[in-house]
Symmetry: D2
Subunit: 386 residues, 4 copies
């Protein structure tokens, strides 16, 4: 077995998410970063690459050059997939170019800047037959996978009600101009039509669809910009209707002062309920009608899939980086199958792909559209059918 070779677009010096991707990708020592177009200039890209101990020749000035040059390398040296970790507006052009040049893509979310782009991207993914993954990190946690398994096995009965929230406080104040991330995340041209809901509301939506295996069909949203002068929403509250009569609430905020990165989900069925908190991710609580409560912990005796996404025994806490690494590991297991000729679409590779990409963009657009209309319920189906 050999390591899978990865290139990277974005993630130059000082970029938080780039460093996270690199740790996650290489955590299990099965992926090797071999090249990158880390920044907007050749100089900066090389500087970043050198710090990463990369060969200077493989630190490219831009992604187009990278695709061209890598394609010239011998097959057993050239990168096999590219990780895209730029601000949102670059996701589509980078992914498009990668696929068109024959490289698999693992993209930071959202898939693209808007729904139109993601539909184009879907067509490209399908026509190239290449692999496309999206880092909705939070579904990488073992206890999220266990929750999905339990719901799917009927442990809590038919699902009736969901409560999902993703609240942060880091944008409670007008940010100073030197916070790069805060800067682009609140700029519509780089972030898309929504701020908070696009950035983290979309994670919440993805999580609730993942665990319940049901789709959101209607939303009733109220998006707000609390901080004066900000150009995008920094808070959103939503009523949900999902398939099979499930109802619920989804909320996201970046002005919930004092909150860190509080993604929490509760799912209630006819026979019981589930509760999971991202900040203490190794605990999954299952509550039953007869008032008994069971606490499940990462590393305990769980489903095969959960165990396959766990690295340490009980009581040795896993965290965000390990969850992130699971997305990478599941993605490259598909690459290995692909290269070995055993890949087939029907198989559950357990990583978010272009399907989640399209749904994510449609949901964000739904939140914004719903917030702008006076009618209570907004049906997201037409967006998906266009």
């Amino acid at each position: 077995m050999k390591k899978i070779r990865m290139g990277m677009i974005g993630g130059g010096q000082g970029a938080f998410i780039g460093a996270v991707h690199r740790i996650a990708a290489q955590l299990d020592n099965e992926i090797e970063l071999v090249c990158g177009a880390f920044s907007s200039t050749a100089e900066k890209s090389i500087a970043s690459g050198k710090q990463l101990m990369l060969d200077e020749n493989r630190c490219y000035r831009d992604f187009q050059t990278m695709f061209e040059q890598e394609a010239l390398l011998p097959e057993d040296q050239r990168m096999q997939f590219v990780a895209i970790v730029t601000p949102n507006h670059m996701h589509f052009p980078a992914a498009k170019a990668a696929l068109e040049n024959g490289f698999h893509v693992l993209s930071d979310k959202p898939a693209t800047l808007n729904l139109d782009e993601v539909k184009q991207l879907k067509t490209i993914v399908e026509s190239t037959g290449l692999l496309y993954g999206l880092t909705h990190t939070y579904t990488g946690y073992p206890m999220v996978k266990e929750a999905q398994t339990l719901v799917s096995n009927g442990e809590i009965g038919t699902v009736r009600k969901v409560i999902v929230e993703y609240i942060q406080g880091w944008l409670s104040e007008a940010q100073s101009s030197d916070n790069k991330q805060a800067d682009w995340r609140t700029d519509p041209s780089r972030s898309g039509i929504s701020g908070c809901m696009g950035d983290i509301g979309s994670h919440a939506a993805n999580l609730v669809e993942y665990i319940t295996s049901k789709e959101i069909t209607h939303v009733c949203a109220e998006l707000t910009t609390f901080v004066e002068g900000r150009r995008l929403d920094d808070d959103g509250i939503v009523l949900l209707k999902m398939q099979d009569g499930i109802k619920g609430t989804l909320q996201a905020s970046q002005i919930a002062a004092g909150e860190e990165n509080n993604l929490t989900i509760r799912v209630y069925g006819e026979k019981g309920g589930l509760e999971w908190h991202q900040q203490e991710p190794n605990t999954l609580t299952v509550k039953y009608l007869d008032s008994s409560t069971r606490v499940l912990r990462t590393g305990g005796a769980h489903s095969e899939r959960t165990s396959a996404n766990t690295r340490t025994p009980m009581g040795h806490p896993e965290g965000y980086l390990e969850a992130f690494a699971n997305i990478y590991m599941n993605f490259i297991s598909a690459i290995r199958d692909y290269e070995g000729g055993t890949y087939h679409k029907g198989k559950d590779y357990d990583f978010p792909d272009i399907y989640e990409g399209v749904r994510g963009m449609a949901l964000v657009e739904s939140f914004v559209n719903s917030s702008n209309q006076d009618t209570k319920w907004y049906d997201i189906t037409p967006l998906l059918n266009d």
Copy 2:
């Protein structure tokens, strides 16, 4: 000083809430239960009264008889106020009769069966000048009072966002006919136009208005009856607008399988956030923008009002009965003032009164009306002005 003499309507053998009221009323040994019309027949009422070690002569067949007979007793023996602990449809006639016969009233919530009745009741309270209290128990907790004080003192800055929820699971299944409480609570003629939202959604609304000192102005609600055959909602999810631009969510459920009595509130301001959970009521968490978190505990150094509603030192947990008793104690402090001629309306007696009664009924009606309309926002103001 002498004990205040209380009568009771409802709360006969086997009634949960009647027993709770009796413990709460007498917990501080300043109130004495002297008479009651506990049940629908004289026989049952006497049987209940005897078990409570009451004089048989003061166990009445109905509340009208009680008011008449008590009025004939010497002033220093007759009851001074009546606690109404019947199913909802009896609250208005009992309270009306009590006030018209010169007795103060402490009523279980909701104040009446509907908005029309509560407006009538308000007129009667105002015209008699007698005292009227409503047992929105949860505002009786010391840490809720501390939260109100902190918000009011600007500790978390101008409030922007609230999240309040009251979720239970005890009605997850169609109830058997021998559960008396479940029976009347799901019967519109005895419970009112709403089940879950009337019973517990109203507590959530009261709590969020109490802590923020702001009123809910608009609601966008979706009420659902999940259990087949049930005649009233067993779940409700609501978007809120409150005074001064506050937004938030309110939800209540009685089909959140596995949940006990989970009333939780979070309030976020420009400078920080507050979090309180009824099931662990002695802890109040305050989170700050600079990412420090402070944990306050019942019995610690708090505001004067909080301390006045606390009985034990830190680490000696107080519970539901003590919170309930605080409502009683604050109510009789007003009675003592009233009887001593020092009562005046402007003073903060810190118990829910007819104002909260009217708001409660208007809010429940708003939830139902909003749920029935296709327009997103429902303005509750017209209901209050009618």
Copy 3:
């Protein structure tokens, strides 16, 4: 049925524990405080009694007068038992006089000032045949009773190991002279030979013996006085041997700065473990070998005895006063039996009595003796046999 009539010794104005006893005794409306010798002078006693709305004639100058005068009253008026809530050095003389005058006794702990006194008291209790109870409050909690039941039913298998701790921080600094309680609690002539271990270490020992139904047989203790000038220990750490090969640790502190009233117990058997925290007393955690954890909550489906000591449904938290009231209620159930002629010693009345009183004094003496010796283990058996 009639209320049981109680007298009180100690607990005058400003005494914390007296107020707690009065609330606890009367919480269920089955006990009535009818008289008292609340303070060291007739004047103060009357002042305290008046505040409690007692008849001035029954506020006595001292306990001897109270016993004599009450004995002269008609049988259906005179007090039936006396609650002793004075500083420790008065417990023995008050209890002795009460029993010799024909009154049942419920005493605050410790039973007496020392082991010699408690042995005398035991003789008196046995010779009079009257009832004697001791308020080891913490065994009154429903979840403690459930823990005892689970262990006794073999839920966690044969017990191997215990960890019990009772840590507070309120004596971290040399106390000012106007803290009455701190004052006598650190005075050997009023408190006994031990400070911290006598006051709260004894509660920890009682709790571990109650839950396991096993006796401590050997101790290895280190008592320390951390605060300069203090005359008694303010911290104690102990290794334990109990019957049947159980080992463990017991520790108590009043200088664990920042701690409130943190009494925590963990018990491990061959098949699982139990964990209970007094500060969140409505939760009992049971852990199993196969790594599943079950959370039990007050008000859930439990043993009959646990349910009989619970007042409210799940999710309506009970606290310290309710636990305390359970001791009173269980004590008067024995009084009712006694008066009805159905009392017999073998029956489990579920309140701590003179047996626990003797063990408590022996354990405290063991802690002190062990701390003073160089040999590792101190056998407590000889103390009990003397």
Copy 4:
């Protein structure tokens, strides 16, 4: 900058701790595993190495061969340090050989099989001047470093009392013979003179000395073997005396049924207390005398050293692997200094070294000796001076 090249001894297929070391070492992409002697035969070693995608030529049959062969490689290719992850009895010979062949050593703990060996090892470390590190993982957690910093800065005042415990349940039953780890851990010839105390009690001791910066001077220990037929202790309870009058308890267990990997420490000073739990490692609670409590979280605003050991922002939980990786990162920062000629002993490189190795072995021997004697206190000083 170039990656540091690491070799490994032990950690072949199926060995838990070997995999953990490899992830930890390479997590930050600054270390590269280049060779290994993974197993007891050349065949197995090569099989393990191939799975790790190593060059077959650098998968050696034993560590002696590895040292010799690696020494022949060009300086910029040969390994720079070796990680020792074998069972305990191999730690000393492997470390000794490595140092004597000029390689730095990072060893799994304990440093050696016994005190005599570790003293020899200390002499070798000192005479070679090479670097020696020991993976007491738990001091790698950011919040442990913050705790150490706070204590050291006087945040809780002069320390008086410590409570440290490390309890697991995985050895509650006699283990089947196919659990390799359980097998050697309970075999004195491979594990040393103590089972539970050597394996995890030593971590607890290291943690308490790290956070307080004080040494344990006397112990009073009781070690027990609860499971029949086991040859080493599976439980230990200890009273502690530390420098400057600190007292406390230390306990470890592997038969605390239902516990996972529960390492918990509390430290109390004159002004406040600290509490940290390994299973939720991102939270550090600081309690103050005035009854306020502050909750610190990984990623918040902390000391420079804490921040330097943190990878992700607040609310993105870090875990065991990240803590482990911090030991590696801090160790190679010393290697970089060493190779750059700027290493000097006085500098705080913040990883456990031979000093902790010697103390660890002396403490374990003290626990055993104390448990075997009848005198209460055992002074560990003579062991260190021998």
